[in-house]
Symmetry: C2
């Protein structure tokens, strides 16, 4: 595996591959890699001859008071994991390679970015859309792989790629879970032992809600109520948000008569975890 | 010359050329083509084996009350001129090919877009940046050619291309003028005979201002005053705006000690014309 930290080295490596007719798959990450990321890498490997992974903790998608400073960073351990997973190129730029002096562009995706996390984290999806647009333009992969755990982010990226007309196929890979159901997340590293034991209650409550729908309930407020009740059985978890939206538009639905996304964020101590399920339709 | 109106046909034509190793130069236009555009095409021909021109009157860069509806459109005459100029591919999409249903993305370039035309035409440069980003992603040319007459637009496009990391070389071609100095513009077609006779006074006044600097004047307000006085000799012209800014940042300067842009907009009847000169430094 080759590691590059600047645009010139990135482009010359990619250019040499392209001249040989190699297809390129790309997995953008913020590092602190876990088996969820490695599942995206696996998906990428099956999609193209060469796999590029970026590690960049993007400051512009963190709000004031969020965990940008304490976000876990361990480039050496990450590089080791990627090497073992057969990644061909690691792009690990410093902040001023992604945002050089004079950088002045913001990419805003309306609609899908406006509700849910977008409403609660002002500017978050502008930061995501801008950095993803830049990374995709720099790498110009044939395929880019994102994780379903960040469902709204996936919707923003798909919209962005379609709207700019980037020649990139966006793939969304399913969420990877621990044996007890907890979605893998870099932020799981923040959890105390007790919090870690409590954490799977989030996914269990999402499954309870899905089951309530599958038993015949079509009213979003009833399904959401089932979710909240199920979650309340775990005292270490406090609910931050729960949204039931159209899985395509990310807008609230009045009736579950199509594919919907039930997405939730919870707090365990200072740590905020998200997860989601898709059902209906 | 081949004409395409949708993304699929555009991409398959470009893809076939790329497979043969052809370099591609691109000239985005709003049609109503004149010798100024053809000079951009000429520049493009010298830069690459294949030349692509787009004709798209972009609604999002016109403000309310501007001339979107009456903007001159004559696709047949334009296509004829491009054919004669040796253009290889004309991309002439309808509005819903550039902005399909659900389109939700805006590209905003801060800084260079904020003064001058950006301040007077709110949203104008968001419209420009968004459509140029989309066109550049769709065509992915090696070279894109823009005209110096729209100096601030050139600055926005250069910023945008650098910030997104698009692998496109942006070239700025000099303004083409009539024998009497009037900058070629699609909007010149709106002028009455009397207005057309008066119109060259704009460029003459810009040259007067430049001369005043070259004779030793370094104060922007003095140079601007010379410009205004020179323009006042032509009663059919009313001054809309005049700005003297750093040619790189598009920000006002306190002293002419570097390369500056003197950019002006005037009204002749209902018609608004722009022009500029660069000097100093």
């Amino acid at each position: 595996m080759k590691t590059v930290t600047n645009v010139f080295d990135l482009r010359s490596t990619l250019g040499a591959w392209r001249e040989k007719g190699q297809r390129i798959a790309f997995v953008p990450t913020m590092g602190a890699l876990h088996a969820g990321h490695l599942a995206l890498v696996d998906h990428a490997r099956k999609s193209a001859g060469k796999v590029v992974v970026s590690i960049f903790v993007n400051p512009t998608q963190f709000g004031p008071g969020e965990d940008f400073e304490r976000y876990p960073r361990d480039l050496e351990a990450d590089a080791e994991k990627l090497r073992d997973a057969g990644v061909d190129l690691l792009f690990a730029p410093p902040v001023d390679v992604i945002y050089p002096p004079g950088f002045a562009t913001t990419v805003h995706v309306a609609g899908v970015s406006e509700g849910m996390e977008g409403a609660r984290r002002p500017g978050h999806f502008d930061g995501v859309a801008t950095v993803v647009a830049r990374l995709l333009c720099l790498v110009l992969p044939d395929v880019a792989v994102f994780g379903q755990k960040d469902a709204q982010q996936c919707a923003v990226v798909m919209r962005l790629v379609a709207d700019l007309g980037l020649p990139v196929e966006v793939r969304v890979a399913p969420t990877v879970r621990e044996a007890d159901g907890l979605a893998l997340s870099s932020r799981n590293a923040y959890l105390t032992a007790a919090e870690r034991t409590a954490a799977p209650a989030l996914f269990r409550a999402l499954l309870v809600a899905q089951l309530v729908h599958e038993l015949g309930e079509k009213k979003p407020e009833k399904v959401l109520k089932a979710f909240r009740l199920a979650l309340e059985t775990e005292p270490l978890i406090s609910l931050d948000s729960a949204d039931l939206v159209d899985a395509a538009t990310m807008r609230p639905v009045e009736k579950i008569d199509r594919s919907v996304l039930l997405a939730a964020a919870v707090k365990l101590g200072r740590t905020r975890l998200i997860d989601n399920v898709v059902f209906g339709g």
